[in-house]
Structure formats: structure tokens, C-alpha cells
């Protein structure tokens, strides 16, 4: 396997961070909806 350039690794890391943030926001929205329903 060809080693990735450092820029490409950073891009992958950025993608990972973006994925985490997106997942977190989705989860927060889900929780907010659940809370609203309970009220």
C-alpha cells in the first residue's frame, strides 16, 4: 500500500473530525426531540 501524503492524512483526519461533529449534532437533535416528546 502506498503511504499517503501528509496532506492526505490530514484530510482524512479532518473527515473523521467532521464525522464525529456531525454524529454529535445528530445525537443532540435526537435527544432534544425525545425530551420535547416527553413534555
Amino acid at each position: 500500500m502506498m503511504p499517503l501524503a501528509i496532506e492526505a492524512q490530514l484530510l482524512g483526519l479532518g473527515g473523521f473530525a467532521t464525522g464525529m461533529v456531525m454524529g454529535y449534532i445528530i445525537e443532540l437533535r435526537r435527544r432534544a426531540n425525545k425530551w420535547k416528546k416527553r413534555i
Binding site: G12, G14, G15, F16, T18, G19, M22, G23, E27
Partner: protein
Amino acid sequence: MEFIQIYWPVFLAGLIIGLIVCYLYFRPKQNVRLSDSVPRRPHMAASHEGRGVTDEAAAAASDVAGPMIGAQVHAELPGAGGPPDDLIKLKGVGPKLAEILNQRGIKRFDQIAKLSPGQVETLDESLGAFRGRFSRDRIVEQADYLARGDIDGYQAKFGNL
């Protein structure tokens, strides 16, 4: 721009991995809440002496051993002699709690008044939703007044009946 055109799959892979990790971290987990009141089922009902051969044997043994070690072996409940009282008169005891107490064999004020602190604690622990009522509403003290027929004393301390 050219760089992204070449390496966008890396970004996408990172994004997907991030989402998966996030899902694994936040995935819905079963929320089990343990209540401190255990439901009482018929087979769990408190046993009374004399129901079976072993109970009789145990009762006979405790008859002899009890006085020797100075323990109140038959003090399961003070006697339910006489007509039953209206336990609802006690402040903090409603129809539901009165029914539970009746099921436990407590029908009179003097029975409650004679309960030892240990017995009150044991009884209180088995009351489920009504746990803590005995100490909070000083039910034993109330029952003591009513058992003695000291209505004035009761009313002075706990208010009108």
C-alpha cells in the same frame, strides 16, 4: 482543488469512520431502572408460624429457646384482639395503606402502638410506595394516643381527628 479531487475518498472514509464511532458511542442503550420496592407476589407472602410441619417444629424450638436467650420469639405481631379500628383515622394513612396494613394483620391501633422500632423498620421497608410514612407522620405515636383513647392528647399534638 486538484488535491481534493484526488484525495476526496480519504475524506469520505474519515467522515464515515467518524459517524460510525459517534453512533457506537451514542447508540441507544437499554435503560434499566431498579426500583427499591420489590413487588410482592403470592408465593412471597410473609409466612406465619404453624403453616407447616417445619414451621411447627421451628415454633416449638423457639418456644423453648426464646425465653432462654431472652428473645421475643413470638413477637411477630402484637395480638389482634378485639374489634378492628378504623386505621384511616391516623393522619398519613389512607385507604390503600390501611388495606395493606390489614393484609399484614394490623387491624388495631394498639397493634401499631406496640410495634418495636425494629418491627416498624421491617414493616416500613415492605410498604413500597408508602415507605417512610411511619416515621414521617409519626404513625406509631398517633396510634399510641388513639389506642389509649386519649383523643384530647392526640388532638393537641396532631390536630383534629
